[in-house]
């Protein structure tokens, strides 16, 4: 049957099993919006800004392990979406983003609302396409989903000229894709897997260092089995939290700039680092010259270009985390391998010494609300089972340090790009993916204002998100750096005017609460989370000058931590 480009768009998304589409209309996509109007298999979520639409698609994808899908118009629609696309690129989030384009005959003419979307998004997408012929539309969509979700996942942009969306052609959706130029490897090299197992059996001071790849590859079970079987300690990156339960005694919590003392010291002193789905980011390594001086390094990653990029690796294993971990476990079985506790007894003794610094302990005299305390209570009241999104800043680090994620996909934040404004729209995507689950957005008063308009979207779609605003009156993370490294000159990191967040939430039709007493924290949280059907916006007035500790100053070595 002949279908228009707009109808092909809908039918192709159905073939891909898409149920949610995040977007914002405009001239170049009006044929597509007309087709959206005439169907009900796919729910379109109308964001209030294209950045919000893309972050929502990201939140949906990160929680759900399915690709997120968004659609925006040409020109400003596309440029507004770029922040979300770049964010997804940095955190390897599978997205397919459709952008409208001016009609083909106007391309290159500086037409109304024309931008070179393919050019602008080239460096921040895994791949992108301009659909030049209607006959290519269906196969391009097929390829886009394939590229976005396989290998190292990432965003793919499809730019569709307006006239293409109105042309007709026979609709055939390809069953399979084969691309000679794109063949991601899945299984690791068996020889390297054997070497990895040899190294693990020989290690006396081993440590697992795992990242977002574990979550993306849905390999938490395999990881947990391997970590338990070896008895080795494990530390996780900001993106990997929950891949292994943080409340487990083998967990040393997060590493890196605001990681725990024991995690960073153990990395520094170890003789074997087993990196799995983590990428030796500068916020993790600190000064690479001083990084893990005595360790042999095993690195499992789907992306060959991540291996030996920042740090020289001894045993590289290119492959998807899940099958590689399964192969390592199978190799252990085959060898009847045991890891004698005696081999690493001294190592654990040393680690337990480091643990005694109790680096996440904080003074909580009760005269002010400590942000860390709010997060501990949030954990308690949600039984550690909420989906937690966050924005960027101190609150993000505290959430990572104090919520103690025990399950994968529960911690949804912007790690690579560090995008303020991510938290609220991402929470919308999560809530749409899991309507029955508890979703909390931990945020700061600066970050929340960057996508505050999405409160209206939450109202329209009745999304009962719980916004936990840790309101310290400052761009806290900026203020902290200014305190430490710029002699306390707080340049532009303080807002002289803030909205009344309670009234603001109410004006969007939500429930607002302001909490400024330590003793009210617990009851306020209880009350808010009991309101299952409402979005509750909690404005916690927290200690204005609290800092995130421990901290490795940028460029410092792993063992050079500021503890308090």
């Amino acid at each position: 049957m002949e279908l228009t480009g707009a109808q092909i768009f809908i039918e192709s998304l159905k073939k891909e099993g898409v149920t949610h589409l995040f977007g914002y209309p405009g001239g170049a996509v009006l044929y597509i919006y007309d087709a959206i109007y005439q169907q009900d298999a796919i729910q379109h979520i109308l964001a209030r800004h294209e950045q919000g639409a893309v972050h929502a698609a990201e939140g949906y994808a990160k929680a759900n392990n399915k690709p997120g899908v968004a659609i925006v118009t040409s020109g400003p629609g596309a440029t507004n979406a770029v922040t979300g696309i770049a964010d997804a690129y940095m955190d390897s989030v599978p997205l397919v983003v459709f952008t409208g384009q001016v009609p083909r005959e106007l391309i290159g003419n500086d037409a109304f609302q024309e931008v070179d979307t393919v050019g602008i998004t080239r460096p921040c997408t895994k791949h992108n396409f301009l659909v030049e012929n209607i006959e290519d539309l269906a196969s391009t969509i097929k390829k886009a989903f394939y590229i976005a979700t396989t290998g190292r996942p990432g965003p793919v942009v499809i730019d569709i000229p307006k006239d293409v969306s109105n042309e007709k052609t026979e609709f055939v959706y390809p069953e399979t894709v084969k691309m000679r130029s794109y063949k991601p490897s899945i299984k690791g090299n068996p020889r390297q897997i054997k070497s990895a197992v040899d190294a693990m059996l020989a290690a006396r001071k081993p440590i697992f260092y795992t990242g977002g790849g574990v979550i993306l590859s849905q390999a938490a079970d395999e990881l947990t089995e391997l970590v338990r079987r070896t008895g080795f300690p494990i530390t996780q990156t900001l993106m990997g939290l929950g891949g292994f339960p943080m409340s487990d005694p083998q967990s040393l919590a997060m590493l890196g700039m605001h990681g725990t003392y024991e995690a960073n010291m153990a990395m520094h002193k170890s003789d074997l680092v087993i990196a799995i789905g983590s990428r030796f980011d500068d916020r993790v390594t600190g000064n690479v010259e001083k990084f893990c001086p005595d360790a042999k390094i095993i690195h499992v990653d789907i992306d060959p270009s991540s291996i030996s990029k920042n740090v020289k690796v001894d045993v590289p294993i290119v492959g998807q985390v899940k099958p590689v971990l399964a192969a390592i476990l199978a190799e252990l079985d085959q060898r009847d391998a045991i890891f004698p506790a005696g081999n690493i007894e001294n190592w654990w003794k040393q680690i337990n010494e480091w643990r005694k610094t109790d680096c996440l302990n904080f003074d909580n005299p009760g005269d002010v609300i400590k942000p860390q305390y709010v997060l501990q209570k949030l954990h308690e009241i949600t039984a550690g089972d909420a989906y937690v999104t966050s924005d960027v800043g101190q609150h993000q680090m505290w959430a990572a340090q104090y919520y103690n994620f025990d399950k994968p996909n529960r911690w949804i934040n912007s790690g690579g790009l560090g995008t303020m404004g991510f938290g609220l729209p991402a929470a919308m995507g999560v809530q749409l993916a899991y309507p029955e689950s508890t979703v909390a957005c931990v945020t700061g008063e600066a970050s929340i204002q960057m996508c505050i308009q999405e409160l209206a979207t939450c109202k329209q779609y009745k999304l009962p998100i719980k916004v936990v605003l840790l309101n310290n009156g400052y761009m806290g993370m900026v203020r902290q750096w200014q305190e430490f490294f710029y002699e306390g000159r707080y340049s532009m990191s303080y807002f002289d005017s803030l909205p009344d967040f309670v009234m603001l939430a109410e004006s969007f039709g939500h429930v607002g609460m302001m909490i400024d007493q330590h003793t009210d924290v617990e009851s306020a949280l209880k009350e808010a989370f009991d309101r299952k059907d409402d979005l509750v916006f909690m404005d916690f007035r927290t200690d204005p000058e609290e800092n995130v500790y421990p901290m490795i100053p940028a460029g410092g070595g792993q063992s050079e931590m500021i503890l308090v």
């Binding site: 393919v118 130029s181 992306d303």
Partner: protein, 164 residues
Amino acid sequence: MRHVISILLENESGALSRVAGLFSARAYNIESLSVAPTVDPSVSRMTLVTRGDDHIIEQIIKQLNKLVSVVKLQELTPVEHIEREMVLIKAEVNDKTRDHVRMMTDIFKASILSVSPTHFVIEMTGERRKSQEFIDALAPAVVVEIVRSGSQGMSLSDKPLRSN
């Protein structure tokens, strides 16, 4: 170190800018780059010359491989290969220098493509080093314009670099 990389990439709009964009985004340098379709018109072949230490070259190769438009690539530097560059040279000549230029053209096996009362246009094909020597040898004639094709490279192995 100087490295020569042969790249087969999908012959589609934008493929070249993906490669060029990768180099600028990651601050790798491009010494020369030339590209044209192959026998298979759906594939273009690029010869790219770059410089960097082993670590950077390893990253460049991996990053190029990661581009969805790149079908296959081969690093030529470590294997036996030939490299050629074509240079067109416009030289100003007069009664004093004309014979000298003709002699040098013979010695270097270059050829004169066009002659006017005051200028020669000369084609020279060879290794980059040799074409530079030729240009230097033309003095005292004055070279007023030069265009280089950039290096073309091919391995001497019997096994062809092909897209399938």
